[in-house]
Point group: C2
Chain length 350, copies 2
């Protein structure tokens, strides 16, 4: 591998001039820059990341800590990752994934202290997450995707579950629905402190009650089979719900399958609105689902910006930055059966 010294010699300039031409930390005449560039190309020069890191005390690497083994990497996370990777690259950094479990906080901390990364994006944050205290105490720059129970002074970005569920409910109520159910993530996720399970559930219940209605909430295992059972149970209720909001993609498949099997028309007899969805799920059902798509890409960009600000030494933002999901019309949501056609303007999202 050619070194900077080699480039300097070939271009007939000093080593430092090459360095400045590369970093732009000093102005270099167009002529010499030109010679340097062609020398680099001729030699196939690649800057040595280790040497650069040693001298600058920055690795230009941002690490995304994600418990891949436990969660797999769903479509919504994939969107996040690619947006974050691109955002990092635009700022001259590289995004890498560290597949650590939630209980490996020490290893994450040590890797950053060893200089393998300048900062950390922590995903799948639970209500009480051991990683954030470890990182904070060690002075490691980090940003959470999601929120612990108390986020005061901790940099974080997250889905706005409160607003997302409220908009979902408002939309359905605007279509005349009076009996709404929520198919949530499983009891198991709740047990491990998975925050979205709680935030979405609370948001949904509050939004329904704000309309003077009574919420029905079910926590359902992440399987088609569990979704079928949940649907069966909801259909047996009295009064029978006319709309179901789901935040559990695999269970949603089961819900739709059960409705179909029983001959319950979607959306004529039952509306299905899937929230916090990953791209592509809408078209995996028939009729295509109406969804509220997770803002993964926006969160990714935002998370990188926030983290870089932490790396630069800025004080942590006062509050979490929240982004709601956006409604994407499909054909699984319609007016409540027997409801008068919604008057113009009554439907929040035409």
């Amino acid at each position: 591998m050619a070194t900077m010294q080699d480039v300097a010699r070939l271009a007939g300039v000093s080593l430092s001039t090459v360095s400045y031409a590369l970093s732009g930390h000093r102005t270099v005449s167009a002529a010499t820059r030109e010679r340097i560039v062609s020398a680099m190309e001729e030699l196939g020069y690649q800057p040595n990341a280790m040497a650069r890191g040693l001298a600058s005390r920055r690795s230009r690497v941002l690490a995304l800590v994600y418990p891949a083994a436990e969660r797999g990497l769903g479509g919504t996370v994939a969107e996040f990752v690619s947006a974050a990777a691109e955002a990092a690259r635009e700022k001259g950094h590289h995004l890498v994934l560290w597949p650590f479990r939630t209980d490996q906080a020490d290893e994450v901390r040590d890797l950053v202290l060893q200089g393998m990364a300048d900062g950390v994006l922590v995903m799948e944050v639970t209500l009480d997450d051991p990683r954030v205290t470890t990182l904070r105490d060690a002075g490691v720059p980090f940003t959470m995707i999601g929120r612990t129970r108390d986020v005061a002074g901790l940099p974080s970005v997250d889905v706005d579950f409160e607003r997302t569920t409220r908009e979902a409910v408002d939309h359905l109520v605007g279509l005349g629905h009076r009996h709404l159910a929520f198919v949530n993530h499983s009891e198991a996720t709740a047990a491990e402190g998975y925050a979205p399970t709680f935030r979405a559930e609370e948001g949904f219940a509050a939004a329904v009650r704000a309309h003077g209605l009574e919420p029905v909430v079910r926590r359902v295992d992440e399987s088609p089979q569990a979704g079928r059972e949940a649907a069966a149970e909801l259909l047996d209720r009295s009064p029978r719900p006319t709309a179901v909001v789901t935040m559990n993609e695999i269970a949603t498949f089961g819900v739709v399958a059960e409705l179909q099997q029983r001959g319950i028309g979607v959306p004529d007899e039952m509306s299905v609105l899937a929230i916090v969805t990953s791209p592509g799920v809408a078209d995996m059902s028939n009729p295509p689902l109406t969804t509220m798509h997770s803002p993964g890409a926006d969160l990714g960009r935002l998370a990188v910006a926030t983290l870089l600000s932490q790396v630069a030494g800025d004080p942590p933002p006062a509050a979490a930055t929240l982004i709601p999901c956006t409604l994407e019309p499909g054909r699984s949501v319609g007016p409540a059966p027997g409801a008068p056609p919604a008057p113009a303007g009554a439907e929040p999202h035409p």
Copy 2:
């Protein structure tokens, strides 16, 4: 951050002794090692990865290139990743994920040339993968997970699709089934050269013909809906298949749902055998699926070992290392309807 020099001073030894105590490249007396260790603890010493990398010309990082944005990260990949990460750590390395698309071969190559990693694990290899030629030409150590069309001289580990499909077919034929169908991945995956789609299909067809039977093969989109349609179509065939092998998890859900809806008993009237599955899918259906589980963990360990051997400069292995999936009994496979109960020994996998 404390440096090695700090540790040396506190322990009353020379810098190099600390280095050797850490690396083990030279014997250090138990007494001085003890002093060094406690000095390190007292100072909270963490070796500087950049300095170490600069001096040793090795980053001790292995990169796993995975197109997360396009594929998401399914359960089978998750198993692979965590096993690979652990294997890497046992050898004193770190595994990181680089979320590059398949067309970003140049960036992968450059990062390795810059010293950000010592070698690369390439996942989701297609029949004609641009990344492998780029890496080979650049002399970057790598190992494929999967295989290009021609693997001569290219280090690779992969699922043994030929043997897996053969064992699946043998198992079913041993149970009296004479009409077997295969629900494959989608036409779209085939179009982009996704190798498993071809290898499994060929393996299945060959295995069925080896029994003097006629294979039925369908390429199905990765959605429950598409699975339902496939099942419906298979049921209308004459002769009607009594067993279906699937390699498409999401479609499998649809297949089972359609069978249930039509009142076709599983496994009494139709056996379902899901191959190359990720952990957990078996229990997402009712009855639990009989599966042949993808050897993700074994592949992960093997891939790391192979890559490290490449990094060390060993010649590439002559042939790919293949690992079959293992049968995990569930309750979705049974004797063919009307078939005599299998005599002892007639069933390949009791």
